[in-house]
């Protein structure tokens, strides 16, 4: 089982982003997903910066994959994606337009979690189209993933989103800009002030969601650290850790330790690492916000 570092979902300063990836070069992850996946207006790193960063991480021994935005709308969104595909090699497609671009260039792709693969026939279609790996939808239960793999006829690697706030929805509208009464076109890049997004609570104070520009996330952190036995025997080859502003290195180390020695899962102070709380409902076929104790 290999660990991967998922794409950065938040908007950090250029220096913070470069520092994060400089550190990640030494983490126990085989693969690093790069690129801006949420909003094309975010520009602390440009396409050429991401490509240069990718080269450095390749030299550090990492497999580098460029992730597409989940909502590709404009002509420039498409052209920068073509450049990643031509110059960078591996793509994670989170939109059918990205699949088209990978296919046209005959490069392999990773079918991302936003492509809506819920059954074997669709998974086989992607494999035949050039997908070498897939991520189930974030809402898929373990049982649904097992059933999809049982239905599929073609071999493919499976990567599971194991740890991170869940990217639940994408909109035309920017909720961060809306919060500041700004229009999306003149948002003053307010996302950069919220390194882990903005918490959204119910009016009785329950943590519920997290605003991250045009993306809406779970407030809580989805975590399969206590379910690793049932994760590994699904047949997954890769586990994804999603970046957060602090403690990502410790999360990677925790998963590496727990994969090597299951008892290690309980040794980490999750209250400190993810004070927003851990949930795993989706994995168990429940509402994603639920937490099922498995230890």
């Amino acid at each position: 089982m290999q660990l991967t570092l998922g794409p950065l979902l938040y908007y950090w300063s250029r220096q913070a982003t470069l520092d994060f990836y400089a550190a990640a070069a030494d983490w126990e992850v085989s693969t690093i997903y790069l690129g801006e996946v949420v909003c094309a207006r975010r520009h602390e790193l440009r396409t050429s910066d991401w490509l240069a960063l990718g080269q450095q991480l390749c030299q550090a021994g990492k497999t580098v994959v460029y992730s597409s935005q989940a909502l590709l709308e404009s002509g420039s969104d498409l052209s920068s994606l073509r450049r990643f595909a031509k110059e960078g090699g591996l793509l994670e497609a989170n939109d059918l337009g990205a699949v088209k671009i990978a296919r046209d260039l005959a490069i392999p792709y990773i079918a991302g979690p936003h492509l809506n693969i819920y059954n074997g026939a669709t998974l086989d279609w992607h494999q035949a189209a050039g997908a070498i790996r897939w991520l189930p939808s974030l809402e898929a239960s373990r049982a649904a993933i097992v059933a999809t793999l049982a239905e599929a006829k073609l071999p493919i690697e499976t990567e599971i989103f194991a740890h991170g706030r869940l990217p639940l929805a994408f909109s035309a509208r920017c909720f961060t800009a809306r919060h500041y009464d700004l229009s999306k076109d003149a948002c003053e890049f307010k996302c950069i002030e919220h390194a882990d997004g903005q918490l959204l609570k119910t009016r009785e104070g329950q943590d519920f969601l997290r605003l991250n520009g045009i993306q809406t996330q779970s407030a809580a952190c989805h975590a399969l650290i206590h379910d690793l036995a049932s994760v590994t025997n699904v047949g997954a080859s890769h586990l994804r850790i999603s970046p957060q502003a602090q403690f990502t290195a410790e999360i990677v180390a925790a998963y590496a330790a727990a994969l090597a020695q299951p008892a290690a899962a309980t040794q980490f102070d999750w209250q400190r690492i993810n004070p927003e709380g851990l949930v795993n409902g989706y994995w168990h076929g429940q509402a994603g916000i639920c937490r099922k104790e498995t230890v």
């Binding site: 809506n116 819920y118 076109d185 429940q286």
Partner: protein, 337 residues
């Protein structure tokens, strides 16, 4: 009456029942879209939708009036149960539907192989927001039409149209999804059931209306979505249209309860070459379908006149049936940018 001018877009209206289908046809819809009474349907609500025999008579009636029936099989087949979705495609073909509206690639492939003569439309749930995505579905599955998610601006819609041979359908009126359709699992995060997996959003089975003295709380699976004071009109607790707290502010953090109304941009949509205008609302009553269809029919027929303007009577008619009695141009307008 249906549009006679070939350059005018088709008016596509919803039907959750046979009376709604008849109301749509009698009010001037060019086509009616509907779904089966099962999990293949993205409006899989209790008391709605069509059995095979209702569908048969609905199709006979609509086609006898020169209108089309499009069958939406637009949830994602859940692994292990794919046969149910395939059987629905077979049934749509056998019943003589004019087209099927699909989102799942595996199902599109099945329909293409098994029923090549049955027209295929890419559902809004397929989340195709750019021409590359539309063209992928065209090359592989020969789709003749794609329904665009309600996230694109008018220039973005025009850019898609200019770069694809596929007919483009957009929403003209109805409840507004603020998220990109097919890319939202907020509902399953809160309840375990989503549009993609169960054909429902913020399902009624998980809703609680809890009066407290003069006030009312609405909850979804126990999560407080909104709280209404004595004189506030209470709305259904659709998750993204509740009031929440962000920082120090308490407000509609995502979207107010509101309906999309594209009447004012109809001439622009027609000029760009949009081939069909869709009305949302298979969960709504025949009276809603009738009112909205008549209004949109009149507006589309008038929209190619250079002196076109939105008539106050149309606005009033649509306002009565709008969510929260509010309307917006959504992503079509600048304030959303």
């Amino acid at each position: 009456m249906p549009s006679l001018a070939p350059h005018l877009p088709q008016l596509i209206c919803p039907a959750g029942s046979l009376p709604a289908l008849k109301a749509a046809v009698q009010s001037g819809a060019d086509a009616v879209y509907l779904g089966f009474k099962n999990a293949t349907n993205a409006r899989n609500f209790a008391g709605l939708n069509f059995t095979d025999s209702q569908l048969k008579s609905g199709i006979e009636y609509a086609q006898s009036q020169g209108r089309e029936v499009l069958i939406a099989i637009n949830t994602y087949p859940q692994a292990g149960r794919t046969a149910e979705w395939q059987a629905s495609i077979d049934a749509a073909a056998d019943l003589g539907a004019n087209a099927v509206i699909l989102a799942d690639l595996g199902l599109l492939e099945y329909a293409t192989r098994r029923h090549p003569q049955l027209r295929r439309h890419l559902s809004v749930q397929g989340s195709a927001t750019n021409f590359e995505a539309v063209n992928l579905a065209y090359e592989h599955f020969g789709i003749s039409r794609a329904v665009l998610p309600r996230v694109l601006t008018l220039p973005q819609i025009e850019y898609v149209i200019k770069n694809t041979p596929v007919e483009i359908e957009v929403f003209g009126f109805g409840s507004l999804c603020v998220m990109a359709e097919g890319r939202c699992i907020l509902s399953s995060y809160a309840t375990g059931e989503s549009p993609n997996t169960h054909g429902v959003c913020s399902p009624a089975s998980h809703v609680q209306w809890l009066p407290k003295g003069d006030t009312l709380d609405t909850r979804l699976n126990g999560i407080l979505i909104d709280h209404f004071e004595k004189d506030e009109p209470a709305g259904y607790p659709t998750l993204c249209k509740g009031r929440f707290e962000v920082g120090d502010a308490s407000y509609y953090a995502m979207e107010e309860p509101t309906s999309l109304n594209a009447l004012s941009v109809l001439p622009e949509l027609i000029r760009m070459g949009v081939k069909a205008i869709k009305v949302e609302g298979r969960q709504r009553s025949p009276a809603y379908v009738s009112e909205v269809t008549k209004t949109l029919r009149a507006a589309i027929d008038a929209a190619s006149d250079p002196r076109y303007s939105v008539k106050p009577a149309w606005q009033q008619a649509l306002s009565k049936v709008s969510e929260g009695h509010q309307q917006t141009l959504g992503a079509y307008s600048r304030p959303w940018r």
